[in-house]
Amino acid sequence: MLYRENGQFKASYAADQQIFPILQDRVAIGALLAIAFIVLPLFGSEYLFRAILIPFLILALAALGLNILVGYCGQISLGTGAFMAVGAYGAYNFLVRIDGMPLIAAMLLGGLSATVIGVLFGIPSLRIKGLYLAVATLAAQFFTDWAFLRISWFTNNSSSGSVSVAGLNVLGLPIESPVSKYLFCLVVVCVFALMAKNLTRSAIGRQWMAIRDMDVAAAVIGIRPMYAKLTAFAVSSFIVGVAGVLWAFIHLGAWEPAAFSIDRSFQLLFMVIIGGLGSIMGAFFGAAFIIVLPILLDQIPQLLGIPLSTATTSHLVHMIFGALIVFFLIVEPHGLAKLWSIGKQKLRLWPFPH
């Protein structure tokens, strides 16, 4: 009976339009944020930050961006890695070429570069649909892979093609320690998650979903398909681009195009699908699942004291990972977010069965 909305009446539409209309949800999210902002920085280990939380936050952000395109607007993309790369290299160039460029500005400019490229590669979506579009977005993937390797201007003429950044700071505060990196990512992710949620619950979000669900009908009620699709590409690649900046600058520090390879694109798509298409929360669920699972699977044999070679473990991880993906799709094609809401639904009725 802890989770009940009975008796919580909405007196105004504004109250009904809150992101979390139910009191318990607001309390829970507040607690979660408190843990994330206060408790974890105090008690988390360096390993937790560097190997789990930071990549989790960044990839959740990228998944969030992708989810806007795939989950909300229904345009499948296999080129997410490319847009991350554009963000990363874009920001890198702004940072090294313009003296005194602040990190945040470089990050946003990186996101804007990704937006430009995203919109460019989004143009075919006006004519090409579904799986055909998915494969077309691979063109973006392979093209950027190539461009950042081959065009040395992008890498500031680094002889090896690998680039790196150092001495990052925000308003004079250095972003060096794991905790500061974590907090920086957390703030960025929270801000973008909130903005993404706002977009999806306002007119543009409805336009995206309308295009996703039935494009002809959407056009007939006055939604311009071009505008809706291209804004989805723009917003999505902006967020993905920012995630790319974070991944390169904060997580890796030094990178090469392979950090944004097609595997990354697939990984993000997995996150979105497993987490739940068309759900902001789903992006977080998906990222957590996909990052934590392999690490866990890696360690379980050790914990149980079963001596397995790393190769066998790695193959097993592949197999279990693949099997779990299929399993989840079978059990709940709408992802963890849906499972979560079903769980809440049950909880709402608990302890009464109906």
Partner: protein, 275 residues
């Protein structure tokens, strides 16, 4: 406000307050082909302001194609379309919407993943003016705008008696209700002309009666011009002002219901003898 008015006035109102006006849509010699297949051949007819205009005809007669021509989904190879007296250039569907033409579909084209509320809210998208950045911040003006439109939408929801399902994803609704939501979405745009493609298909008599009531009320109260495709001859003959009959892409009859009902060619091609 407006919707409440109709709902209240509905009982009292008969056809009295309604005045049929001038021709607002004039289709002249329309021909449409897909590849080599002729869908429409040299069809001309017009629609007057405030009237209920029905298009009937056997399956494959080109009725839906006709509606698709009117709202820009299909582009006819020949013929002229005059809307409010102005010749219309080739245009995309969303432009028809900006001119005040709304429509429902034969096979229900709702946005299945969205709630009833959101579906109807999309109908108001042309009236919403906030830009992307404002929406991302969801502050002040945007929120006010959302609420203002939400109020309008709630009126439509009340009018169509679908309050209890407003947060339900439309995919989970029974067919009849979905049809109603689709009508609601079209109404939300406050159209001057409403195209309805078989709004009663697959409904039982009671549901048909409800739907007729909604259509008549909209027409009475707003003076919304209605172009209707329907197979149920009872419905068509009862509520239309004028009826146009198509057969295999050609026009075979046009006129008041009684005229059409007694038209030899129409009986032979469509109505059959048993009715």
């Amino acid at each position: 406000m407006m919707m409440n008015d109709i709902a209240n006035a509905a009982e009292a109102s008969a056809a009295g307050g309604r005045r049929i006006g001038e021709v607002i849509l004039d289709l002249q010699n329309i021909s449409l082909r897909f590849g080599g297949v002729k869908a429409l051949t040299d069809i001309s007819f017009n629609v007057r302001e405030h009237e209920i205009r029905s298009i009937i005809g056997p399956n494959g007669a080109g009725k839906s194609s006709m509606l698709n021509v009117i709202n820009g989904v299909y582009h006819p190879q020949e013929g002229r379309i005059l809307f409010h007296g102005q010749e219309r250039k080739k245009m995309e569907p969303h432009m028809a919407a900006t001119q005040g033409i709304a429509r429902t579909f034969q096979n229900i084209a709702l946005f299945k993943g969205m709630s009833v509320l959101d579906n109807i809210m999309t109908g108001r998208n042309l009236k919403m003016k906030s830009n992307l950045l404002q929406m991302a911040l969801y502050w002040g003006a945007v929120q006010k705008e959302e609420i203002a439109h939400r109020e309008k939408v709630e009126e439509i929801i009340d009018f169509l008696e679908i309050q209890s399902v407003r947060k339900t994803p439309v995919g989970q609704l029974p067919y009849g209700l979905q049809k109603r939501v689709e009508l609601g979405r079209a109404l939300a745009a406050e159209p001057t002309m409403l195209l309805l493609d078989e709004p009663m298909a697959g409904m039982n008599v009671e549901e048909k009666q409800d739907m007729c009531r909604f259509i008549l009320d909209v027409n009475d109260q707003f003076g919304t011009t209605i172009v209707l495709i329907e197979h149920d001859m009872g419905v068509v003959m009862d509520i239309s002002d004028r009826v146009v009959v198509l057969d295999y892409g050609k026009k075979i009859g046009d006129g008041a219901p009684d005229e059409v009902r007694n038209n030899e060619e129409v009986i032979r091609a469509y109505l059959g003898t048993s009715h």
